[in-house]
């Protein structure tokens, strides 16, 4: 319990300092939310109230922003985030099959994180590496010319990785 409280205090400090960093910026709501997600991996609900307190922006407006833009998440993600590009070239090259192969191997459904909190697979809009289609990113690192076989191997490797 104590530990949990200490952790949440720390998170609040982080949120406060992020808001402060954008203090003199006009229309700062989105950059603030982006920085919080960069820091925490997602946007906890209480962050919306905290930002609201500090900036005077309505928390309902903040919620509206978070749910409008596809970049924002209200739930934590796994240690390894795999993004499957669903641009046109990737679609033609079989992005759906790659996504299914990844999910099948990881034993999860798209957009969800498994109970072990290790892997999240999500669809994203075009990553702009069309000539290497189909493309995925693994914690930001791009892998091109994917096949279902490579997808299976990748998940195997991730599962073998020791936890932090």
């Amino acid at each position: 319990m104590e530990e949990k409280r200490a952790a949440s205090v720390k998170i609040e400090d982080k949120i406060d300092s992020i808001v402060k960093r954008h203090a003199d910026k006009r229309g700062a709501a989105i950059p603030i939310l982006q920085d919080i997600q960069k820091e925490l991996g997602y946007i906890p609900k209480f962050a919306l109230y905290r930002i609201s307190q500090l900036t005077g922006i309505n928390s309902s407006d903040l919620f509206g922003i978070v749910t409008f833009y596809s970049q924002f998440r209200l739930k934590p993600i796994g240690e390894v985030l795999i993004q499957v590009c669903h641009g046109t070239a990737c679609h033609l090259a079989g992005a759906d099959e790659i996504a299914s192969a990844l999910c099948r191997a990881a034993g999860i459904t798209e957009g969800e994180t498994g109970p072990d909190g290790k892997i999240t697979v999500e669809k994203v809009a075009c990553l702009g590496c069309c000539s290497l289609a189909p493309v995925i990113t693994v914690n930001g690192e791009t892998h091109g010319r994917m096949t279902q076989e490579k997808a299976k191997e990748l998940i195997k490797e991730i599962k073998k990785m020791p936890r932090d």
Binding site: R26, I57, D61, F68, A89, C126, C129, C130, S131
Partner: protein, 605 residues
């Protein structure tokens, strides 16, 4: 001993293909006294990434598909002994290669520096004549700058093709201060990567173009609104802004005059509709990106109610070139109404995909066959899709159409920002239309009823058609809904969302009819209308597919032909991907074995 310059293409595509490892290898293994190693942006031949270019007194040589192992031999034989390894060279100034045709038909004005300079070093841009355009501009009157852009005939490269000089003039003449210039780098079209490449390879040209535009319209502050999905472009742009500030190309008293200008980056948060200018401004202001009614136009009431000019990345880069090299460079090529060149992101089922720049008026056929080298698969060329989800599909029979704003529009497609996706006979046009509509449906901001509900209903109909549940009257309903959505939507997203469906209905109607009336997918793509079979004649009984099948649906024993248990099959296609003997065939669901088997395209009567 002469000096060799070695450049490694380190844009996103190159890095994804493994160029960083090659660069690291070269960095520690090149003889430092005889060579100069450079990072550069997109060399353009994406189909051969990673690319390494070697320049010396004997000429230019570009190596393709380089990995560390190849790099080892290149260092040893070419760099140290002076013997180029011809079979790996994709382009050379001294001899012809098959791939060099890719560059031959292009005309590189905007991409002049791309893959030549170091994007993270301002001196590299200055050596290539950088910021000369801005220097010239600030010595002219703003009206003369706008006149120069008018003479060049520059039209907006974001898709709609609005004359740039009119936009600048309107913003200049509008009352109210401060004024703003915004660079629209929210390149959300799936299948387009021109803006990303320009920003990753030549970021200063965009900053220079922005500064010129700011001077012309009387703005002191600019924003670059860029997709968060482009981390490398953002990083290089940040570096470029820092360097430009230090050198005095941004900030107070630029070129010792009265002109003051600075730039701020705003990262888009993943909403396609923010490519629309009023939605983009709402997003910068910190709101949901929802378009509003025009007028008032941004030139009158834009960001925070002030006069604002919004230009696309490519437009601004073009403005920098026009000012530095003169309007003629631009206006001397292109067609009567569409001047200059256009960058396309050539991708899909084409042999040589990549970033290309061609004069306006080039035909689709020239792009696909002369530059792209034709279709990458064994199948026939079927169509190209331009303009992403706002554009349309142009069938192979119309491939002699030229790329200019008017010609593409008359075909029902649009120029768009420049995504050009090539499709072969294995591509199901109904599925393609559904793909784009799925995208626009989820990206509709929800403001206009027709766009919000209409696209959803169209998608439902397409889902039905693709799963074999299509009904008579569906095609007419699609047409009717599509036309109404165009009329009933406020912004470009809704007004163009039906285009992919309407153009495919126009040019590929028989394919829709096959889905609706015969419940078959001629291209063999729609999962619910197909089955996988193993040809008993072709199967040698190696059992590889059975081993790889994730659903244990392939049954049989070694050295005898295998079979697929349809009840277990999840149609992932891994068997067909793994079979080395082409024994796995895609057939229409419910067809007796041996009938109508074989490849998708052969079913077309």
């Amino acid at each position: 001993m002469y000096l060799k310059t070695i450049k490694v293409g380190l844009a996103s595509c190159g890095i994804a293909a493994g160029a960083s490892k090659v660069f690291d290898y070269l960095e520690s293994n090149l003889p430092k006294e005889k060579t100069k190693l450079m990072k550069t942006g997109c060399i353009g031949m994406c189909f051969k990434e990673p690319l390494v270019e070697i320049n010396d007194e004997t000429g230019t040589f570009i190596y393709g598909s380089v990995d560390v192992k190849k790099a080892e031999r290149i260092v040893k034989e070419h760099i140290l002994q002076g013997n180029p390894i011809k079979e790996w060279i994709v382009y050379s100034s001294t001899f012809e290669t098959e791939e060099s045709k890719y560059l031959k038909k292009q005309h590189r004005i905007l991409l002049k520096n791309s893959g030549k300079i170091d994007p993270e070093n301002i001196n590299s841009y200055l050596e290539a004549g950088g910021y000369k355009g801005l220097e010239k501009a600030v010595a002219m009157t703003p009206a003369d700058v706008i006149l120069e852009i008018e003479k060049a005939g520059l039209r907006g490269r974001g898709g709609a093709g609005f004359p740039t000089h009119i936009k600048w003039k309107l913003t200049r003449e509008a009352h109210g201060t401060p004024k703003y210039i915004i660079c629209n780098a929210d390149e959300g079209d799936p299948g387009a990567f021109m803006d990303r490449s320009v920003l990753e390879s030549d970021p200063h040209s965009v900053l220079e173009g922005m500064a010129i535009a700011a001077y012309a319209i009387g703005a002191e502050k600019g924003y670059v609104y860029i997709r968060a999905e482009y981390p490398l472009a953002i990083k290089r742009l940040r570096i470029a802004i820092e360097q430009a500030r230090k050198k005095g190309f941004l900030g107070k008293g630029i070129f010792n005059g009265n002109f003051t200008f600075d730039v701020e980056i705003r990262e888009g948060a993943g909403a396609f509709v923010c490519g629309e200018e009023t939605a983009l401004m709402a997003s910068i202001e910190g709101h949901r990106g929802m378009p509003r009614f025009k007028p008032p136009f941004p030139a009158q009431k834009g960001l925070w109610g002030k006069p604002t000019c919004i230009n696309n990345v490519e437009t601004l880069a073009a403005a920098a070139r026009i000012l530095s090299e003169g309007a003629d460079v631009f206006s001397s090529c292109g067609t009567e109404k569409s001047k200059g060149t256009k960058i396309f992101a050539l991708a899909g089922k084409v042999k040589r995909g990549g970033l290309i720049e061609v004069p306006m008026g080039t035909t689709i056929r020239e792009i696909v066959f002369d530059i792209g080298g034709g279709i990458s698969t064994q199948k026939a060329f079927k169509a190209v899709q331009t303009g992403g989800p706002s554009g349309g599909c142009i069938p192979a029979s119309m491939a002699d159409i030229t790329v200019d704003y008017e010609a593409l529009k008359s075909a029902g497609a649009i120029m768009g920002s420049g995504g050009l996706i090539v499709m072969d006979e294995d591509t199901c046009m109904v599925d393609v239309a559904r793909f784009f509509l799925k995208f626009t449906t989820s990206e509709s901001c929800g403001k206009c009823t027709f766009c919000r509900i209409g696209t959803y209903q169209m998608l439902k109909i397409l889902d039905r058609i693709c799963s074999g549940q299509g009904e008579p009257g569906d095609l007419e309903r699609l047409q009717d809904l599509g036309e109404k959505i165009i009329k009933g939507s406020l912004c470009g997203l809704g007004q163009t969302a039906p285009n992919p469906v309407l153009t495919t209905l126009k040019y590929f109607r028989e394919e829709y009819e096959a889905h609706v009336y015969e419940k078959r997918c001629p291209a063999g793509k729609c999962i619910e209308l197909i089955e996988y079979r193993i040809s008993a004649e072709k199967c040698i009984g190696c059992g590889l597919c059975a081993k790889k099948c994730p659903a244990n649906a392939v049954e049989g024993e070694k050295n005898h032909p295998y079979r697929i248990n349809i009840k277990k099959c999840i149609k992932c296609g891994i068997c067909s991907e793994t079979c080395r003997f082409d024994a796995v065939e895609t057939v229409s669901k419910g067809m007796p074995a041996g009938l109508n088997g074989g490849e998708g395209s052969s079913w077309r009567q």
